[in-house]
Amino acid sequence: MLVYALLVGVVAASAFPLYWSFVVSSSDSSAIGEASPPLIPGGYLLDNVRRVFDTVDFWLALQNSLIVSGTVTLSNVVLSSLAGFAFARLRFPGRNSLFLVVIGTVMVPAQLGVIPLYMVVGELGWYGRLEAVIVPGLINAFAVFWMRQACEEAVPTELVDAARVDGCSLWAVFWHVAVPAIRPQAAVLGMVTFMAAWNDFFWPLIVLDPNESLTVQVALSRLASGYFLDYSLMLTGATLGVLPVIIVFIVLARQIVNGITRVSVNG
């Protein structure tokens, strides 16, 4: 019984800030200034939502975030499945040292390279454009590492060899043997990548044009950048920005939880 009481406490602490965000976003902004804060949702949600859309171009932000996250997710899943399959099941010279390079880069802080990355993006003429965020994110080392583990686990060597003996090309082996086997892990990777891309802040803040190519996170930071803090406006934005991922999370919670649990078993 004590275990459940503790767990309820933990989950309540996890959920409270989100609940609070919803409470404030459904309250009149003056309600925040009263002696005791409101603890139940009020009736101003739609008003506040309208104000968010008046203050920043939230539709554009949603659309841009969807484009960025969708492209990055698709590309990470496809490219890392190919690379992961090659590292796990194909023989080629330099395989081990190349994979060490992949592992090494998982540990390197991305912020180390922002200054020159900014210059690279400038050379390519991508300042303020979505390409600046999409292209550097098309693949990352963790995804390759993850799909290699998946292939080691789910793609039997015997099946690969048998397909080779039958004269399948490597591409056909990948497509007909590996892809069906690694679909669940690829799905988890896709969800994790999507959320990470959706939530990315540092790089988009630097390189995107807040008037033309803002993403949801950059839009949220703009809501917070006034001298007068309008909490109900800010938290309405926060609620709106979080809603899509929360919905995805709730629908797919089981797979995501199991996926994260699997990382550490392997890692």
């Binding site: 275990v3 503790l6 933990v10 989950v11 996890s14 959920a15 800030p17 989100l18 609070w20 965000s21 804060p37 890392s80 190919l82 590292f87 194909l90 023989r91 080629f92 190349l98 880069t105 540990m107 390197v108 802080p109 912020q111 180390l112 390279g113 922002v114 200054i115 020159p116 210059m119 690279v120 390759v144 004269g167 490597l170 990948f174 959320m195 939530n199 802040f201 630097i206 996170q217 949220l220 930071s221 809501l223 917070a224 950048s225 909490y231 938290l235 926060a238 609620t239 920005g241 979080v242 991922v245 929360i246 999370f249 089981r254 939880v257 994260i260 649990t261 699997r262 078993v265 890692g267």
Partner: protein
């Protein structure tokens, strides 16, 4: 259907025989060899191409830029050797940022990982609706840093913030969380703890599932209490995962940016409070590089930050190994 297929088979046979069986086999052999040799590289090529252009090159180029007086807009103003580093090591604002980063990192990582251990132990027991609890614990991790910072910014607000309101209920005077060093660090650390504790506890949970049950039985036979067997069996048993989480949270903690940046909502443009009391190293990098356009200096900050990350990861790695030796 099948008789039809059988009847077509012989009619194809002569056509192939025309080219000669040896020729066809040879061609297939060459193609297969080519496939074996080249295709694996085609599979890994996209990663390495993109990684070289957007990963390795910027990384190495940072070192080059840091040796120059380099302006983000106007470009290279000449080679200055280690001048940027010399300036950096004499820069009180840099030490201030480094101290803040370390302070927030310690305030967040230690409680976070201890709490994660405890929560994992709870989740490891036979539970009804296990997935629901696990998902509930993971929920904060899904929320974007920006949203977290906005919500906690309100919770920790000086006037009308919920934390001060609760403190007021127990008779504590309101704290101006943003204005002083330690309170601001506590507030920022709270955001990090909230977002990452559940994630780490799931990693620990997964590792705990792999600890051999016989070890617990042996501990029980020896008369070990539940507490004792947790510290002597469970914790050493999940050591690799503990090391992994310590190293990852070190690297994450030292790069802290969005939480402190947005905690300062009043518009001081990323300086980290009126007196830089919660400016982190990454915020300082951002201020120098993208606020003042001093790319050379920012690049030097980036490299020093990288070295600090590696050193801290090594120290933590070493500490995490020793903890086990003691237990």
């Amino acid at each position: 259907m099948s008789p039809l297929r059988v009847s077509t088979a012989p009619s194809r046979q002569p056509a192939r025989a025309d080219r000669g069986p040896a020729d066809g086999a040879r061609r297939r052999w060459v193609l297969t060899r080519l496939d074996n040799r080249v295709t694996p590289f085609l599979f890994i090529a996209p990663f390495f191409v993109l990684f070289t252009v957007f990963g390795v090159f910027p990384l190495l180029y940072t070192a080059w830029v840091s040796l120059h007086d380099w302006q983000l807009i106007d470009g290279d103003q000449g080679f200055v050797g280690l001048a940027n580093y010399a300036k950096l090591f004499a820069d009180p604002d840099f030490y201030n940022a480094l101290f803040n980063t370390m302070s927030i990192f310690l305030l967040s990582t230690v409680p976070q990982l201890l709490a994660a251990l405890g929560i994992a132990a709870l989740l490891d027991r036979p539970l009804r609706a296990g997935t629901v609890w696990r998902a509930g614990v993971l929920l904060p991790n899904v929320v974007s840093v920006v949203a977290v910072a906005l919500v906690f910014g309100q919770l920790f607000a000086r006037d009308f913030g919920v934390v001060n309101w609760v403190l007021g209920l127990v008779g504590v005077d309101p704290v101006d969380w943003g204005a002083q060093r330690l309170p601001s660090h506590v507030a920022i650390a709270t955001m990090v703890i909230w977002r990452w504790t559940g994630y780490n506890s799931l990693l620990y949970l997964a590792a705990m599932r792999n600890v051999p049950r016989e070890l617990y039985e042996a501990a029980a036979l020896d008369g070990a209490s539940r507490w004792r067997s947790f510290w002597s069996v469970t914790v050493p048993g999940i050591r690799p995962t503990i090391i992994f989480t310590v190293v990852v949270s070190t690297i994450g903690g030292l790069q802290l940016f969005a939480e402190p940046q947005l905690f300062d909502a009043s518009g001081t443009a990323g300086v980290g409070g009126s007196d830089r009391q919660f400016q982190t190293v990454t915020m300082y990098l951002y201020e120098k590089g993208f606020g003042l356009f001093d790319a050379g200096y920012a690049a030097a900050i980036a490299w020093v930050l990288f070295v600090v990350c590696v050193l801290s990861a090594l120290v933590n790695f070493w500490l995490a190994r020793r903890i086990r030796a003691g237990g």
